[in-house]
């Protein structure tokens, strides 16, 4: 398939402005700014069926239309926080195909009638932000940014803004708080950003990958895009493959390819190292239930609806693979450690629940637990469900509840009162020849 988002894989040097322009870059933007009304742009995006790639899969055109109906947006903010474990697509996009991303952001700004757009990047993308600043300056030097762009009367400024290490800032309202110079704690909803966003003004928040799709949609039309993927999950999606797989990395594929294709396909993951059996699939980082790698699951199409039906979420399609050597109690511990570390502390169930779950998991993994502790772990997780202020807390129970449901034996193997033989030590994966990796430290 031709790449839509990862176009640098087809066109070398597209991270240079001249090359990008030589390959049709900024044509869509020019057309939009000089000859289309914002509503017309929104209609095209709506018709394309593009859905948000940040996790929730909300139709992008619909989101944009919320604003323009009533009043223009004041701000468009791109969510480049990319902190979900197993997600590394937005970084590649911004590094390797930066101009297409910027063009998408600029078209979104035009559609929303915003005069300022920010790209909020996780603080760790420090070096990348410097690079992007240079690229923005180049784009501006061409007259695509600034006052009265291409004589259209439209003016736009684009800025990067760095976070400083907080996963919760990927949640859009926490992101806005952070951009306002405050603690990254989520806001109550409603009001939604479209109503009261940045500085209490109407705001559109979209993911990096979502926006990077936009120039091609406007260049080639909604029908072209809609023809890719499935009827309800249109287009292609960058799938991040990590963990126990021969060729970890980003793969852009039409929505609806099966897990099996992605994991075992030669042009994708290329199978499990050492020919081991796959045990579990995390389709969306740490934030969605772990799926057992059954044949039925492997044949599930990777689109929003099918993965949900299979009991998990497609989310940002950050697929982490766990082979048969992995102890799921250990994997759950790793993930809860993450959530406990990232809980912002605003609401009680998440703040206390993640801490408590981690305690019980530690005890289990240390071999100090009894059967009642496993019960308790499930109880604590269930006790959090439906009570948190934002999705982070709600997400955090997924690894626990899904591993308890599908891999309970892994927990029981750790118990002091277990009849089963003591568990093997926690996963110590064998050396994996990774894509660009020839060697891993000896002795591993």
């Amino acid at each position: 398939m031709e790449h839509i988002v990862l176009r640098h894989r087809d066109i070398p040097g597209i991270d240079k402005l001249d090359v990008y322009i030589a390959n049709g870059g900024f044509e869509a933007y020019k057309k939009v700014v000089t000859s289309m009304k914002p509503e017309e742009v929104i209609d095209v995006v709506k018709a394309s069926g593009l859905r948000g790639r940040g996790g929730a899969g909300f139709p992008t055109g619909v989101k944009w239309s919320f604003l323009t109906k009533n009043r223009p947006a004041y701000y468009v903010v791109c969510n480049s926080d990319e902190s979900e474990p197993g997600t590394f697509k937005d970084r590649e996009i911004m590094e390797k195909n930066p101009f297409q991303f910027l063009e998408g952001l600029m078209i979104a700004a035009y559609a929303a009638r915003a005069a300022v757009a920010y790209n909020y990047m996780r603080g760790e993308f420090w070096t990348l932000a410097r690079e992007l600043d240079k690229k923005i300056a180049e784009v501006k030097a061409r007259g695509f940014l600034g006052k009265n762009i291409l004589g259209s009367g439209y003016s736009l400024e684009l800025y990067t803004h760095l976070g400083a290490g907080a996963y919760i800032c990927g949640e859009e309202s926490a992101l806005l708080e952070s951009l306002e110079g405050k603690l990254g704690q989520p806001r109550l909803k409603p009001p939604f950003p479209a109503d009261k966003g940045l500085y209490q003004m109407p705001t559109v928040v979209n993911n990096t990958e979502t926006l990077t799709n936009v120039p091609m949609i406007l260049a080639r039309g909604a029908e072209w895009y809609k023809a890719i993927g499935t009827p309800t999950s249109a287009g292609s999606k960058v799938m991040c493959l990590s963990g126990h797989v021969n060729k970890p990395g980003n793969y852009e594929a039409p929505l609806g390819i099966t897990f099996r294709e992605l994991i075992y396909g030669e042009q994708y993951g290329g199978g499990i190292p050492g020919g081991k059996k796959l045990k579990g699939i995390l389709p969306s980082g740490a934030s969605a239930p772990i799926l057992p790698a059954t044949e039925a699951i492997l044949d599930t199409p990777m689109d929003y609806e099918s993965v949900a039906k299979a009991g998990s979420q497609l989310g940002s399609a950050s697929v982490i693979l766990l082979d048969e050597t992995v102890d799921m109690a250990w994997a759950a511990l790793k993930m809860i450690r993450f959530f406990k570390h990232e809980s912002c502390g605003k609401c009680t169930p998440c703040r206390e629940g993640t801490y408590w779950m981690l305690h019980v998991l530690d005890r289990i993994n240390d071999g100090q637990a009894v059967a009642a502790d496993v019960e308790l772990l499930g109880n604590v997780a269930n006790q959090m469900v439906g009570k948190c202020l934002c999705p982070l807390g709600e997400f955090s129970v997924s690894p626990v509840l899904s591993s308890l449901k599908n891999f309970r034996a892994d927990y029981e193997a750790h118990l002091k009162d277990s009849k089963k033989p003591a568990a093997k030590p926690a996963a110590k994966p064998a050396a994996i020849p990774a894509a660009k990796q020839t060697e891993i430290a000896a002795g591993d």
């Binding site: 907080a166 603690l183 109550l188 406990k340 570390h341 990232e342 809980s343 912002c344 502390g345 605003k346 609401c347 009680t348 169930p349 703040r351 206390e352 629940g353 993640t354 801490y355 408590w356 305690h359 308790l376 109880n379 006790q383 439906g386 009570k387 948190c388 202020l389």
Partner: protein, 814 residues
């Protein structure tokens, strides 16, 4: 009338105004939905998740917008699968809230259990124990036992000063904090002092301050009341007593003209056996102070129990020339003899911290003898407040859009902190605030319009507001006396009154004049007929001074034959007296104060009188009896009965009327389990606001403003007020000492440069032929040509603008 919304909570149907939150709606039918982070005075945040309820909404057909009906023809209700927070949820038409089913009970149980995973079980030694919302809600809704059996319960620092150890007023017990953000929201939203905040995140969140002095806010103590656990305690109260051992006595704050309602919490001391004030708490009065008090009111009570208090009468013995202890009989008889012999040449000088009853009895005594009773004050306009003062039924708490508030010649936060707070909040709600002053003050932040005049030009500044005043729907003018003497402030009061009268803003609620008086009962003194004198005090055979220290203030006493002082302490004036009579503090007796809003409010005795001290009204009554003015009055109430007959404005002011209470909203006292833990509940009275002449429909007319001589040319010193001063009473609150500045003078950078003075250097200021030295604060907040001299910081008192000279203190050779 706001639109009403009909809803059902469990089985009760009710109608509440649109915009009401479910939690408040439930409260109105006595259904106390448990909360931690929610507080009706703060913006809801929905953090703690304690208030989860099940919510059903009427179903509407998507296409037609029609209600979907059930088989009985009633609207079909769809219950959301997820519980929702009642504290953030506005009521909706037809909504059905369930608060009592198993799902909700389970959620409450779960949330309490979560909170307790981090909370120590140290109730037996916690200052909040007995009035703790967490304790209460745990008993009522909690799981009974925790499954969090880890010995890793957090062990965090327990006595963390919010600020430096030696200047912190508020201490944090980190273990106990449940991260509800009530304290930070109070500081951020209500008082706009961003001096406490969260540090770290997740379970490590802790309250910190990086200000100096720590938690640098004049309202910091309020956070200890609204903290739903024992995490925040005051330096003053912590470890002092258990809440349930405390007695609540209703009182009124004596520190400023706002008249905040208080409860004095007392207990018998284990060591001294005396009944002592352990803490001062706000008492709810939505018209006056809502549920807030400032730190001066909270921590300024220590003078009442000071060992320096006078405990028995003193008479100067001719043999020794010293003041020596005497009996009341001896002292009163001596004074009475002198008064009778004075032949009318009696001068009375009274201070504005006396109660109405004292001032009335004082005035009766002095004028009855043919003498003259004068108020020790340099601020005028009390008569204008009587005429066009804030209209009956006014409430700063209800002011917002449509109301214009003018504040002139006052640094409100320093002079009347709770008014500052309420004016600021009115501005937050959309009231148009106009601040007029010769220098910037903190209130400027909220002003829509700021008028800067030169000291001396107050009247023309007010006259310049005529156009804006005319546009205002409602107009409140708050005036102070900064930089003015009696003549100038009288002229200002008149100009303010003219502004109100000429634009027809009198005799209506939320319209009228408010004076920022220097003392708690200055208005009462005016009302009792004890008023300041602009002229030099006349000579007299007997001078009777009550609650005033002219000598200490550096004023020259008139030549008198015999001086009598009624006081709490041996002030400079007392030391110069022939007889000193020990007076009772307001905490030891009954009485009433009249606030700047003309609200007459009662206070009650909380502790036994110190030594042989007597109430001032009693002292003056007893003197009256001895000089043949009739029988001593039996009690303070009897004095008030006399007042209501003798003073027409007070005809409706009785002790019974002042003691009346009614239900107040928000309902934060009483039996509920969650805002409680404080002394908010007001059972002792809301006071009576006597009607102004305009309220009574009497004609009020614009009067010509007497011209006041302007002082021009050269440096002038302008007296300004600071809240934390070295006044006789406040200086006895040792906890506040780190916040009381050393004497200083604020000087404009240009003036400082001209005089060769650098910031922090000592300058010598010559005023009225006296020299004083103080540290220079070089700061553009001082207008050019004016030296700002904070009063009562240990420097000679100034009356109005005073010509001054200044130079740098030359280094003395060591």
């Amino acid at each position: 009338m706001a639109d009403l919304i009909k809803l059902k909570i469990d089985d009760v149907e009710l109608s509440v105004p649109k915009g009401t939150l479910v939690v408040d709606a439930a409260k109105q039918i006595e259904n106390d939905i448990p909360v931690f982070c929610y507080h009706p005075k703060l913006t809801p945040v929905g953090m703690c998740r304690m208030c989860l309820v099940e919510v059903g909404r009427v179903q509407k057909d998507r296409a037609t917008g029609q209600l979907v009906l059930d088989e009985n023809g009633r609207p079909k209700i769809a219950y959301s699968p997820k519980l929702e927070t009642a504290c953030t949820l506005p009521v909706e038409e037809g909504m059905h809230i369930r608060t009592e089913n198993g799902k909700v009970a389970g959620a409450r149980n779960d949330v309490v259990e979560f909170i307790l995973t981090s909370h120590p079980l140290d109730c037996p030694v916690c200052d909040k124990g007995g009035e703790c919302p967490l304790q209460n809600l745990t008993l009522r809704y909690g799981p009974g036992s925790s499954r969090f059996v880890f010995d890793e319960k957090q062990h965090l620092d327990k006595h963390v000063p919010l600020g430096a150890e030696d200047n912190a007023l508020i201490f944090l017990d980190r273990e106990r904090c449940i991260q509800c953000a009530r304290c930070t929201r109070f500081a951020d939203e209500v008082v706009d002092d961003h001096v406490i905040g969260f540090y770290q995140r997740g379970r490590k969140l802790e309250i910190v301050t990086f200000s100096d002095p720590g938690f640098d806010s004049k309202f910091s103590g309020n956070t200890t009341d609204i903290c739903p656990v024992g995490a925040l305690t005051t330096a003053d109260f912590r470890f002092q007593a258990r809440p349930w051992e405390l007695t609540h006595s209703a009182s009124i704050c004596a520190q400023c003209p706002v008249g905040c309602n208080l409860h004095l919490n007392t207990r018998r001391s284990g060591t001294s056996g005396r009944i002592e004030i352990k803490r001062v708490m706000p008492r709810q009065n939505e018209q006056v102070n809502e549920i807030w008090i400032c730190d001066k009111g909270r921590f300024g009570h220590h003078f009442t129990a000071s060992p320096d208090r006078l405990t028995s009468p003193l008479i100067r013995k001719t043999a020794t020339g010293q003041l020596e202890e005497a009996s009341w009989d001896e002292a009163l008889e001596l004074v009475a003899t002198k008064l009778k012999a004075a032949n009318g040449a009696v001068l009375g000088l009274a201070g504005g911290r006396l109660a109405n009853e004292d001032l009335f009895a004082f005035n009766q005594l002095v004028t009855g003898l043919g003498g003259r009773a004068v108020l020790a004050s340099h601020m005028g306009g009390g008569d204008w407040v009587q005429k066009v003062g804030l209209g009956a039924g006014s409430n700063f708490g209800a002011m917002g859009k449509g109301t214009t508030i003018v504040v002139v010649a006052s640094d409100l936060e320093e002079e009347a902190p709770i008014w500052w707070l309420r004016v600021k909040q009115a501005a937050d709600r959309g009231a148009k605030l106009i601040v007029a002053n010769a220098r910037p003050t903190k209130l400027d932040r909220y002003a829509k319009h700021k008028v800067t005049y030169a000291y001396g030009d107050e009247v023309s500044a007010v006259n310049g507001l005529a156009a804006q005043a005319a546009q205002a729907e409602n107009l409140v003018v708050v005036y102070g006396g900064e930089g003015m003497d009696l003549a100038a402030s009288t002229a200002l009061a008149q100009a303010c009154a003219n502004l109100l009268i000429s634009t027809k803003h009198t005799g209506r609620p939320n319209n009228g004049l408010v004076a920022v008086w220097p003392h708690a009962n200055t208005q009462g003194a005016w009302d009792m007929g004890v008023r300041p004198s602009g002229d030099a005090l006349p000579e007299a055979a007997v001078l009777l001074v009550a609650a005033s220290d002219p000598v200490g203030d550096g004023a020259a006493l008139p030549r008198v034959g015999f001086t009598v002082v009624s006081e709490l302490f041996r002030t400079a004036t007392a030391n110069a007296a022939d007889v000193v009579l020990p007076a009772q503090a307001f905490t030891e007796r009954e009485g009433s104060f009249t606030s700047g809003e003309r609200r007459v409010q009662r206070f009650y005795p909380a502790v036994p009188a110190m030594g042989h001290s007597r109430a001032d009204w009693q002292i003056f009554s007893q003197l009256g009896e001895r000089v043949g003015q009739g029988q001593t009055r039996p009690g303070a109430a009897a004095v008030m009965t006399e007042i209501s007959k003798a003073v027409p404005d007070y005809s409706g002011v009785t002790y019974q009327a002042m003691a009346k209470v009614e239900k107040q909203f928000p309902d934060v006292g009483g039996t509920d389990l969650y805002y409680g833990g404080t002394a908010y509940q007001n059972n002792a009275g809301l006071g009576v606001q006597y009607p102004s002449a305009a309220d009574r429909g009497e004609p009020v007319a614009v009067a010509e403003v007497a011209s006041v001589a302007h002082r021009v040319g050269g440096l002038v010193a302008a007296p300004i007020t600071v809240l934390y001063d070295r006044g006789t009473t406040f200086i006895r609150s040792y906890v506040m000492h780190p916040r009381i500045p050393r004497p200083y003078i604020v000087i404009n950078p240009a003036d400082a440069a001209a005089l060769g003075i650098a910031d922090g250097e000592t300058i010598v200021l010559s005023v009225n032929g006296k020299e004083l030295s103080a540290a220079a604060r070089v700061d553009g907040h001082a207008p050019a040509g004016a030296l700002l001299a904070p009063q009562s910081l240990g420097s000679p008192a100034l009356v109005g603008l005073t010509p001054a000279a200044a130079h740098k203190l030359e280094k003395v050779e060591a």
